[in-house]
Symmetry: C2
Subunit: 146 residues, 2 copies
């Protein structure tokens, strides 16, 4: 297969869902695909424009909603009043937010995941999703000692 534009796994997902693939969507897909953090719309737009200046912020909004509805990306709300995104193809994880630096650490704990399912069931619900964020302070060396 020829490589005119860089092909991403998201591209394939889009095609599989039958959505029309424009250059903008390809660029945004590539940005998401090659990000290992949780960029917000503005940042995604910035990264997209670096690849192709023709991408407008409105298209970023529209495309991310499209991707989200298609289950291609996951939208987060870390409490900054701005949506943050990451590829849904990344393995599931939750987040620890450093309340001092704002840094985001990822983790996954299957025991908690199991418990959540059970709790939901106990209350008469089928779990369709969850959000768990731990907020904390980094432990200093002297804290560890005591």
């Amino acid at each position: 297969m020829t490589f005119m534009t860089k092909q991403t796994s998201i591209d394939n997902l889009c095609l599989a869902k039958g959505m029309r693939m424009t250059e903008q969507r390809r660029v945004i897909a590539r940005v998401i695909d090659s990000s290992d953090d949780h960029p917000d719309i503005e940042e995604i737009h910035r990264r997209a424009v670096a690849i192709d200046p023709k991408v407008s912020i409105a298209t970023v909004y529209r495309t991310l909603r499209l991707f989200e509805d298609a289950g291609i990306v996951i939208k987060h709300d870390f409490g900054n009043n701005r949506a943050c995104f990451e590829s849904a193809s990344r393995t599931h994880h939750d987040h620890i937010i450093d309340i001092e630096s704002g840094q985001v650490i990822e983790f996954c704990d299957s025991t908690i995941e199991e418990l959540q399912k059970k709790i939901a069931l106990k209350h008469g619900f089928v779990l369709t999703g969850h959000k768990m964020e731990l907020y904390g302070k980094r432990i200093q060396d002297n804290d560890k000692i005591k």
Copy 2:
């Protein structure tokens, strides 16, 4: 001048923090205090106006921020793009959100709380807070009267 509004536990907290107690703040405190759900600003305003029509929405915003900063209320973001509040004096709990009706159910699970603390520690953090929301669909088998 007039002292027509009843005294609430939040009132006392406010006084303890040395904040000036106006009629509006008392009304809003009373609304929060007597709510066992998670009303948003508009709903709090509605309830406040029912007690005293003189309360403006701007004051509701200002007062709730004040209360939040003072640790008197807890602000939630259940993903509707609107802040929801509840009294901080209520015992700790997390939430299950019915993705179909938006209804909010409260629960508390000490096993998960323990695990969260451990996970944070494992990653070098002291847990200072957490947010956990389970999203799910009601399992309906008996309440099907239509």
